[in-house]
């Protein structure tokens, strides 16, 4: 505790060097990409960063629209996935018998590349937003269910004994122990679920859509507009990274007790 303040300058310096090196690697990759795009690789396959940056600025209004649509579909799908995933997870986790009956189906379902139902959902819900949301809602819910069930199974039984000894009933055990103890698993499941929601929406947009980053990438590829394709990829990469980092920070803030325990 007391050494934390003293260690900070050294830590900062080490972190400074770390960031410097990361910057160096990043610039090196960009430089290599630029060289490769200009001189070595067929421009149909690879656009240099300078060209991509130029296109990104030129088509910023379009890009913003596609990003907004994508984000809206991902968030809606994810919200639905989180709702049923969390509910189903806790219902299954709290009912051992039901869980034991359903478990093999869930495991099998989880192993199947569910993303393959995207065409079916387009058939059912049409080319618009609804099929994207439906794909994300189904695909992203599964890891949430699985994680919550695992979290409940891993609750330390001596904690439950301790609160029972102090007079807790079933509902109190759930609220005071099961829920907080399973929270790290739930949050990890949500982070995974968000990534899957993004994948689901992009895949569905690529298959058939009017708009969205997935549509943009597929359309650019289909019409040989390679720089546009890279703009789409850069936007998708940024979206995924930002979301993951944001959720990770939220997770850490809520779960300080969990992450600092192991130290």
């Amino acid at each position: 505790m007391t050494t934390a303040a003293a260690a900070r300058p050294g830590l900062w310096r080490r972190d400074g060097a770390l960031y410097l090196w990361r910057g160096v690697v990043f610039v090196a990759i960009l430089a290599l990409w630029e060289l490769a795009g200009r001189y070595w690789v067929n421009p149909v396959f690879l656009s240099p960063p300078s060209v991509v940056a130029g296109r990104l600025v030129a088509m910023r209004a379009d890009l913003a629209r596609h990003t907004a649509i994508t984000l809206q579909e991902v968030l809606t799908g994810f919200a639905i996935a989180a709702t049923w995933g969390i509910l189903a997870g806790y219902v299954l986790g709290a009912n051992r018998t039901v869980e034991r009956v359903v478990e093999p189906f869930l495991a099998a379902f989880y192993a199947v590349p569910i993303i393959a139902i995207a065409p079916l959902l387009i058939l059912v819900f049409g080319l618009g937003t609804r099929s994207k949301v439906a794909t994300a809602a189904i695909y992203a819910g599964l890891p949430i269910v699985v994680n919550v069930v695992t979290g409940i199974k891993n609750v330390d039984s001596v904690l439950i004994k301790a609160v029972r000894s102090l007079g807790a009933g079933r509902a109190q055990i759930f609220v005071k122990v099961t829920l907080p103890a399973s929270l790290p698993y739930l949050l990890a499941g949500l982070r995974l679920g968000f990534t899957l929601a993004l994948i689901a929406v992009i895949v569905s947009q690529m298959l058939a859509a009017y708009a969205g980053l997935g549509w943009l990438v597929a359309y650019a590829a289909g019409t040989f507009r390679t720089p546009d394709l890279y703009v789409g990829l850069v936007a998708l990469g940024a979206l995924g990274m930002l979301a993951n980092e944001g959720l990770r920070r939220l997770e850490y803030r809520l779960m300080r007790w969990h992450y600092e325990r192991g130290r």
Binding site: K161, R164, S165, L166, G167, Q172, K176, W257, H258
Partner: protein
């Protein structure tokens, strides 16, 4: 009338290989008594505590507390676990308040009681810490403070100091005796440490290897208040130690054969 009366208590854990943890155990404990339970691993001493606390039910026989059969946990009994069993996401304060919170004691009252119990175990100033920031000894103090919040008449301790290093253990043994002498509670103390069992208790109950039966009950007539370290150097302690070990040795050997 004895505060605790156990009559012909049997506990069988069903399953592919049925385990008879307790087999017809009878025991009475008077109010204010400090009783150690000792025996080889798996002899059912912990199961006896769990049944007395109401966490488990007996297969046969009766467990009475203050003349009434045990029917689930109650505020008249407090339990301390070997693994501390603190909620890692709660501060020391919130952990100690847990039992009061579950019984909907108002916040101000909870704080007052928790502060009092934390002072009793010497943990003032650590209210805001989390369990992972504390040493094992401090965690077990928190756990003891938590068990004391509801002012139980009976303290059930399941190898509370088994995970601690030898020095911390001696300190906590002394402190527990001091607390016990002040509060006048009845303590049932499970341990597998012979010296600890004798140094702390008024009586030592020796269990057989599985299935757990009571082999012998040894009276410890060492003067109180005791210093758990110094008492070990007395001739009477040496005699008791030898006596208890002689009986326990056979049981430990028997349980080894099974294991």
């Amino acid at each position: 009338m004895s505060l605790i009366a156990v009559e012909g208590l049997t506990k069988v854990f069903p399953g592919a290989t049925e385990v008879v943890a307790l087999d017809g155990v009878s025991l009475t404990v008077d109010e204010g008594e400090f009783v150690s339970l000792i025996g080889p691993s798996g002899c059912g001493k912990s199961t006896l505590l769990h049944i007395l606390d109401g966490l488990e039910t007996a297969t046969a026989g009766r467990a009475l507390v203050a003349g009434r059969p045990v029917d689930g946990p109650g505020p008249d009994r407090g339990m301390v676990f070997q693994e501390y069993a603190l909620l890692p996401w709660r501060t020391v304060q919130a952990n100690v308040e847990l039992g009061l919170e579950l019984r909907r004691v108002p916040a101000a009252e909870r704080r007052r009681i928790a502060a009092d119990r934390l002072a009793l175990v010497g943990l003032q100033g650590f209210e805001g810490r989390y369990p992972h920031e504390l040493s094992g000894g401090m965690r077990q103090r928190v756990s003891i403070a938590r068990a004391l919040t509801l002012q139980p008449r009976i303290l059930l301790m399941d190898e509370p100091f088994a995970n601690l290093d030898a020095q911390t253990r001696l300190l906590l043994e002394d402190e527990l005796l001091a607390i016990w002498q002040r509060t006048g509670q009845t303590v049932l103390f499970v341990t597998h440490d012979l010296a600890e069992a004798i140094a702390m208790a008024d009586r030592v109950v020796i269990f057989t290897a599985r299935p757990g039966r009571i082999k012998d009950v040894v009276q410890v007539r060492l003067p109180r208040p005791r210093d758990v370290v110094r008492v070990r150097t007395t001739p009477e302690f040496a005699r008791l130690y030898d006596h208890v070990w002689t009986q326990l040795r056979d049981e430990v050997l028997k349980s080894r054969e099974v294991a």
